[in-house]
Amino acid sequence: MASTSKKIQSALLPITSGAIILAVWYLISYWYGRSVGYDVQRIIIPFPHQITSALWSEREVLWQSTRQTALSALIGFVAAVSVGYALSMLLASAVWVKKALYPWVLVLQMTPVVVLAPIFVLWMGQGLPSITAITFMIGFFPVVANTTMGLVSTDRNLLDLFEMSNATKAQEILHLRVPYAMPYFLTGMKIAGTLAPIGAISGDLFAGSSQGGVGGIGYMVILYNSQLKIPELFATALVACMLGFVFVGCVNWLHWYLLKDWHDSARKVENT
């Protein structure tokens, strides 16, 4: 069947390109090792199998550090989403509130988090509180910007409909503005979800601390780098990438699940 062969094709294409990339990688590593010696090659551009064996030998350390980072990312993400949502409701409640507060939200957003990070460490010390605060700062703005946009752009005709029904302000918010803003909010949440692991890892670079020699992913990056454990460093990159995938996957699933019944972005274009 045509659709089956298409499926095979769409699975085969990334596998093939992946194999080519691996082969090129091996070639470069090999060529580099031949010209400068394999001891140097190992700490500049390790063979892929050296990376996977580092991944295996460090598996317990990396698992522990991934859990630490995932926890910081999750707490920071949840805080960004809930505080962001609450602030959006406040901003959308009246025009004067938005006028009064939004510029300051922007100021906060425009200040790079890397500049604020040392200040957080100063206030909260090394460790989880600072790391989650950094994650929060990174994820918070997309939630606020998108949700506020959704809350204030409710369809005029729907508002008229509610007015004709003598709806109270509370009913208008609960039954119209909040569900109407849902796709916008979830878009903000998706962006925050993508940024959360990045935030937690960057947070680690500034505020990471270790427990028994193991810290978060960002901490391990610094540690491996200083010890010239480069295959381990690559393995850490691999782990960080997988954490990102898991995080974004969960958030995307939530987005799809909440909108699948009615919103264009989530349902299949198919009329029954």
């Binding site: 008229d160 004709m164 029904s165 003598n166 009913q171 039954h175 009615w262």
Partner: protein, 255 residues
Amino acid sequence: MTTNSNNIPMVRLAGAHKRFGETTVLEDINFQAAKGEFISLVGPSGCGKSTLLKIIAGLHSLSEGEVVVDGMNPKNAREEMAFIFQEANLLPWKRVQQNTELPLKLRGESTERRVETARKMLELVNLSHALDKFPWQLSGGMRMRVSIARALTLAPRVLLLDEPFGALDEMTRDNLNEDLLRIHARDQWTAFFVTHSAAEAVFLSNKVVVLSANPGRISQVIEIDLPKERNAELREGSAYLNYVAKVSNAIRTVH
């Protein structure tokens, strides 16, 4: 046509002006509609038909003059009015049943009453088979039927329709017109119906109000003296076609 000059009019506009900033949208509108009348508002684009409808609904206020609905200020008469919009204007996240129940829900009616009334109204517009569908699963005509059912749940005495069938194909539109007349014969609400189509206006109404543009003024009120019982056959009769020609001509010459 209903003639009850001794009755209090259901809707009355007297010396009504509407300005948006510098522009006068409606000028000196004087008009009244008795209970059960079906009034169509026609006229070139920008003549303020929709604005007039929203003034009766109390969604816009007048700059000058008076509008009275059943002896009240429109805002106080909301419970007696329902508005049907250009698009079906359904909540996309609610199923047909819940969409129909919405006005009752907002009014705080009990669940049983809500469910029962919505069912009845959906039956009236032949949608009993689609209670559990989402709006995106319906055709444009079906969505409009839901919108009509929703408006009827509150048993309105005045129904305001803002070009409700403008985006539909001709056959769907004709069917909906016939359904609307059937329900009107049953419930006898007073209707204000904005449309671009002379044929639709003549088919539905006992009076067609022709507005001129810039500013919107009543240029002519054409009484449609056709039998009350109207069906598809009426559309082929010469009396009907003469009225359509008359209304089209009136719209064309108001510029």
